[in-house]
Amino acid sequence: MVIENVSLNRRQFLGGIFSTGAFVVASRLIPAELFAQGPAGAAILNTKADTAALHPSVYLGIEPDGTVFIVTHRSEMGTGIRTSLPLVAADELDADWSRCRIEQGVGDTRYGDQNTDGSRSIRDFYDAFRVAGASARSMLIAAAAAQWNVPASELTTANHEVVHARSNRKVGYGALVPAAAKMPVPAKESLTFKPKTAWKFVGKDTNIYDLTPIVTGTAQFGLDVYREGMVYASIEHPPVVGGTVKSLDNKAALAVKGVTQTETLAAPKPPLLFQTLGGVAVIGNSTWAVLQGRKQLKIEWNDGPHAGYTTAPFKAALLEKVKRPAKVARNLGNVDAEFAKGGTVMEAAYYTPMAAHASMEPPAAVAEFRNGKAEIWCPTQNPQAAQETVAAALGIDKNNVICHVTLLGGGFGRKSKPDYAAEAAILAKQLGKPVKVVWTREDDIHHDFYHTTAAVYHKATVDAKGRPTAWLQRSVFPPIASTFGAPEPMGFELDMGLDDTLYDVPNIRAENAGADAHVRIGWFRAVTNNFHAFAAHSFADEMAHAAKRDPLEFLLDLLGPGKIVDLKAQGVDYSNYGAPIDKYPLDSRRLRRVLEVAGERSGWAKRKSGNGRGMGIAAHRSFNSYVASVVEVEVDQQGRVKIPRIHQVADPGVVINPDRVRAQFEGAAVMGVGLAMFGEITATNGRIDQKNFDGFRVARMNDAPVQVDVHFVESGNLPTGVGEPGVPPVIAALANAIYAATGKRLREMPFSKQKLV
């Protein structure tokens, strides 16, 4: 990957993004335009909802037998979204859940945005699914009103039936479908939604739709797709990003039983986007054959411009660069003037390494190419990007690409980037037959779009009570923007914990600079919040301890009584996770509240610290949600860290399926712990050092918190993110807990590499 050394302004850059179809970045910056109701444009592939007799929305259809088809257009990677969005529609419809069938939508712009990342599926589509359900219900009521010749206002619905209480009549939805289908689809403005007191599914626990298939092994993930006449492919990618094949000797590979041929894939041209990496594909008639064949390839590589990338010097340069002034991202008051007054100054630098997503299912895709059209099956978070990437690779129109979305065996951001789908499509076209591309774990860890490495610097002057009167924070990291050809971080990368800290300090400045990217950088669960929050909330804890104050009491003092924080007045063009700021403001009262509740639930006031035991606390707003974490640790005499309990207290607004949202915060605690304790990807001469789960450690059962207690603060606010915001505060709270237990301040991840005793 060559970072073109040109200065692009934001608008030019966006133009570039749109022209290459990398919708993923754009969607972060522009509030989602919702497409609540179809039917604009032709369908890529008709669903059963489309062909159902009653079809008021692209998301919903009902047949005369009463079966309700609900289309989930967002990808299921473990959040439960495939169940939760249909529950919203089924609730407004007053449907019998057992008569609802969920269909997975293919990539198709008629559904609106399908990039399942940014913890925004419910936030952005809650209304659309309410509209879908309420529209159908309204049409069914209209049909019954006409049939019985009574005013619609006298009719109610319950459990798949329309009811006329006055005449003691009722009729099933199915029987009404033929007549309802002739009714006009009501205007969105004319719909009335159920009051909260009448919600049947929203706010109640419902098992995920795929639960039984998962526990019986029949659930279908990407690797489980088999097509008639299909061949298998495993690809030796260039070991250094941007590398090319210098010479290839495939004789020994072709001699492996079951291997039929090799195909050399074209190297990508910068910017990398979601293009394939190039390399040599081994094709054969079984997974085992192609994996064996790959081992016999003899390839010499041109490594390209990134062969000099080695972690230790890069880290040193990052930590050096973060001490120097950088571009101002936020400015309130005058930090320099305050610093110039002298007084007590505190400063600290924090470092986090790269990390891999390492979802349990490595990337995989199956593709067919016939008559100028491609059909792909893959675990993707972003089927429209898969359509666009495949179309660009094959030189066809994206409407000639059908992208079927299987279940995802984890995603965490990796599977928003469909390079593996493009590999399958390219090979299917070249070979003229269906192809399954299988990535090994080593491929996955070596060729990720990594969670970036970062250095973060904090400096503050503090008053007699230890409160900061001026606070400077600065981060330096190779940005996600680099994957799209821009050298400096995009605004959204700073709007995640760098320029939106909610502490009430009179003088604040946030600064940022990019650093050269030598690997592909991408979104990882909670993104830049992870290191920004680790640094900011560790530093707040450092200030509390320096002042010999209780950390929770100190944080509440730092937040003050709380208010709506207006970042615009402080020079921040805040992207707010793509959500309108008037509906989703930054409200430090909500952050205060989750801290207070976390303190109560964790028994903070009665905690005993020292002698290897400690509790740490941190709170962070991300993805428009407010989360406080309290981590309890026990550090033994060998320095081993045990985590008996983590309390996660969240205010994510309206909760659709509480059990699944609890699961997200439980999982976020485990992932936060794993990332903080073990998560480290390093490079030597442009090559990633880690190979598999032995080199890249993730949390196992015996590393994970024994218990995660999740509690929601009911604010009645609009629903906001739940998949990601549970991670960032856990990392800082863990560092703070280890400090409380041992007196060791951890400013570098992974913590397991630090000596604690």
Binding site: E76, G78, T79, N207, I208, D210, L211, T212, I214, V215, T216, G217, T218, Q220, F221, L223, D224, Y226, Y232, K257, S286, T287, W288, L291, S359, M360, E361, P362, L407, G409, G410, G411, F412, V438, R441, E442, D659, R660, A663, Q664, E666, G667, A668, A669, V670, M671, G674, N692, F693, D694, V698, A699, R700, M701, N702, A704, P705, V706, Q707, V708
Partner: protein, 151 residues
Amino acid sequence: MRLTVNGKAQTYNDDPEMPLLWYLRDDLRLTGTRFGCGAGLCGACTVHVNGQAVRSCQTRMGTLESKTVLTIDALAEGGKLHPVQRAWIQHDVPQCGYCQSGQIMSAVALLKTTPNPTDAQIDAAMAGNICRCGTYQRIRAAIKTAAKERG
């Protein structure tokens, strides 16, 4: 060579080096057994051979003469879920679900030898099974529920 997979007799005459995992998936299309690491590090491919939990990605076909293999696909007998599967549903364990076939097969094997496992025994038996979604506390709870149900 002959072996039994999920109660059915099978004959295999191909590469003895091929791991059981790919035989199950590509040859028999028993796709419930998942590929996670190919190195015996994650447990996603766990199956039973003669009643013992093994990593099918590390089990060569050549070692399976006359052996009996059970996979997640046939754990439920006659449509009746195994108590461990029922416990998994009761605790709504899975998030993405990919690792859960292996988790369940490991848990079933654990409960065979240790009907009432302690937390430490559960940790020791299950530490080889990675769940990247972080469902560990529900896995532990489900194992305890299954243990109780089996009495």
